[in-house]
């Protein structure tokens, strides 16, 4: 007799649990649906070509004919004061046949690629003036000095360019970073 009763009560317990599970499932589904709607709410009014990450985060400057004709460089300045220096597409080096073949950071008094800046205070960062040489880019027949353009401390250089200078030819490869 008691077995029968426990069986029945177990049965009604499981039924209740099932009901709860269903309710929870419904709730979850409703929440998921709401979430999907929210995720896709950004989708209204999307521009066909949005601004690039660089355009959105930096103020883009160009230094044209910097110290020498057709030595065109760009400076991307972030709101926090950091700058990225690089060769503008109109730089004379790109006009040479074969484009850029080598990059050497060993100019001036030190090898810029050996710079090891550490810590929040950016210890060991070298202080540069706007006319300080950053690196030398070479093409088949010529070489050009790339200068700093802005006054600041050098934080890092793009090491990839040493091994793969052709990256500069393909896209706007960053050259250096400054504080």
């Amino acid at each position: 007799m008691s077995d029968h009763i426990t069986e029945e009560s177990n049965f009604s317990e499981t039924k209740e649990k099932e009901k709860e599970k269903e309710k929870q499932k419904e709730q979850d589904e409703a929440e998921d649906e709401e979430l999907r709607k929210l995720l896709l709410s950004d989708v209204q009014n999307l521009p066909s070509t949005p601004p690039s990450a660089v355009e959105s985060n930096f103020a883009i400057y160009f230094a044209l004919d910097f110290m020498k004709p057709r030595h065109d460089q760009y400076v991307y300045r972030h709101a926090n004061g950091l700058c990225v220096i690089g060769l503008a597409p109109s730089h004379v080096a790109f006009k040479d046949e074969g484009g850029i073949t080598a990059i050497d950071f060993n100019v001036g008094k030190s090898d810029r690629s050996g710079v090891k800046v550490t810590g929040k205070r950016k210890k060991n960062a070298q202080h540069f003036e706007s006319n300080t040489a950053l690196c030398k880019v070479s093409t088949k027949n010529d070489s050009y000095i790339v200068r700093c353009c802005v006054k600041g401390s050098l934080l890092e250089v793009n090491q990839q360019l040493i091994k793969q200078p052709e990256l500069l030819n393909a896209s706007i490869g960053k050259d250096t970073l400054l504080l």
Binding site: L35, L40, A53, V54, S56, V84, K174
Partner: protein, 511 residues
């Protein structure tokens, strides 16, 4: 019958100890020691506590009617007690009223305190009394006690009753004040968040502290400390042979009443919950640069100000388990947070928390939503630790790519599991963080088409905690890239192509 009468007496206020009852009690104490203490200029309550007596008697003694048990002359109560410097005689300089007070009974002091509490307007159903005594007085007590131990240690009454120690000044003061305060404030005293703090300070106390620092910076008095104030060490021998000069125990120069301040406050309450952020223009914490606010509001202020106003607190502290950028939404289950509210005038309840949650969620501009707001104790901090410790975080990013998407792109992205990426400190935070390389894991990714576009897609990803999502997607000018592995060559090409052109991505945190 007798027991019932005793109970009635102890429950009534004030327990009717008449001056003759006090006299009887004093006569029951060992007379040699008692007389000695009186001659040393110790007040009656200090005497009682030196004999280890506890209870409501402290509250019911009237200073005006105490007599010297030996010769029935006026007692020590007219002179400042050499041990407690007036604390247990209710003589003090009141810093609030800026004048000297000399009260006869504990009830009069309790009145001052109760008035202050009523003025402050706190809601409470219990109070906890806290007392702070200057170190100088504790030193005097220690000197006296070691003197007593040496002089009377061998006597039978000492060994029977009080070898364990005397009642402390703090406890004696509490015995004096708690009953009157319970009556005046109409509630019981107990360990609770509402605190009444009594602070005694002494102008000569700084010297005492200087002496403390002579102990090598440690203010813990060694238990065997003897005669600190006089600097004499061999106390025991001179006491025993009677040559000890008692006047050295209590230097006259220190004989000034204490300064007394009293205030009340509530210990912090903690609200826990999860928040969702719907806006891309709301920072997590208040963000102001050069008097200009960044964004239109902050999660911390939206939640904190409402809670603060509702419980009438002094200020709040917002603690969240992790954070997201100002332009990143926080959806899904929401981010755990704890809001600490200090010195609330009202006592928050569960219902109260529910009401505040509703108020925040019914705000017109719907910038932030709160879930499961409730009062939490120390268990709340465990929830936070869990929230931070979850090693995997989930995001959704709306991404644009310059070349139209192909089916295989979707498959390739989905096939990548536990992809290792190397992230140099992003340029956007490099001004305030160390330049480091951090390897992170992207556990899985899933691309989802966005209706009507071949170049926009929704990227769902699950990453290791601490991964910079924006930089992962746009590559940060090549400073974030997958760790090279020849099996991933294809993916690398795809990511490289994407990273040159990914733009304007809109990230949503979902965990």
């Amino acid at each position: 019958m007798e027991q019932k009468a005793e109970e009635e007496v102890s429950n009534a206020f004030p327990p009717s100890f008449s001056s003759s009852d006090l006299k009887q009690l004093l006569h029951s104490l060992p007379s040699n020691a008692l007389n000695h203490f009186f001659s040393l200029g110790v007040c009656v309550r200090c005497i009682l506590r030196l004999f280890g007596i506890k209870g409501p008697i402290y509250a019911s003694i009237d200073n005006g009617s105490v007599e010297n048990p030996v010769d029935s002359t006026a007692s020590n109560e007219t002179k400042l007690c050499n041990v407690c410097l007036g604390i247990l005689q209710f003589r003090f300089y009141d810093d609030r009223e800026k004048r000297m007070f000399q009260k006869d009974a504990a009830y009069d002091v309790a009145l001052l305190i109760a008035d202050m509490v009523r003025q402050e307007g706190y809601q409470f159903d219990s109070f906890s009394l806290e007392v702070s005594i200057p170190p100088l007085i504790l030193q005097k007590e220690a000197s006296l006690w070691s003197y007593i131990q040496t002089k009377y240690g061998s006597e039978p009454w000492f060994q029977e009753k009080i070898h364990t120690g005397c009642v402390s000044i703090k406890d004696a003061l509490k015995f004096s004040l708690i009953n009157p305060l319970e009556k005046l404030l109409d509630c019981k005293s107990s360990w609770c968040p509402f605190r009444i703090r009594l602070t005694y300070t002494h102008t000569k106390a700084s010297e005492g502290v200087a002496k403390c620092s002579d102990n090598g910076g440690s203010c813990k008095r060694r238990k065997t400390d003897e005669s600190d104030s006089t600097g004499e060490r061999p106390l025991s021998s001179s006491v025993e042979n009677g040559s000890f000069d008692c006047s050295k125990l209590f230097p006259k120069s220190e004989n000034e009443p204490c300064h007394f301040t009293y205030n009340c406050f509530r210990t912090p309450f903690y609200f826990g919950g999860r928040y969702l952020k719907y806006s891309r223009n709301v920072s997590q914490t208040c963000w102001i640069i050069d008097d200009e606010r960044m964004g239109e509001a902050s999660v911390e202020e939206i939640i904190g100000i409402k809670v603060l106003q509702a419980c009438r607190g002094d200020n709040y502290k917002f603690h969240a388990a992790g954070r997201e950028d100002i332009d990143v939404r926080m959806l899904g289950p929401g981010r755990p947070f704890i809001l600490e509210v200090q010195n609330t005038r009202l006592v928050p309840t569960e219902q109260f928390a529910n009401n505040i949650e509703k108020m925040i969620n019914e705000e017109e501009n719907k910038l932030v939503r709160v879930k499961n707001l409730k009062l939490v104790g120390s268990d709340g901090w465990n929830l936070m630790r869990e929230g931070e410790g979850e090693k995997q975080k989930q995001y959704a990013a709306l991404v644009w790519t310059s070349r139209p998407l192909k089916d295989e792109d979707f498959q390739q992205v989905s096939s990548l599991k536990d992809l290792k990426v190397v992230q140099r400190t992003p340029i956007r935070v490099l001004h305030r963080r160390s330049p480091l390389e951090r390897e992170k894991i992207i556990h899985w990714m899933k691309m989802e088409t966005v209706a009507g576009s071949s170049q926009y897609f929704l990227l769902h990803l699950c990453t290791q905690a601490g991964t910079y999502i924006k930089e992962f997607v746009h590559g940060d000018l090549g400073r974030t890239h997958p760790r090279y592995d020849k099996n991933l060559r294809l993916m690398q090409c795809l990511m490289a192509k994407m990273s040159g052109t990914h733009t304007n991505l809109l990230v949503t945190a979902l965990f």
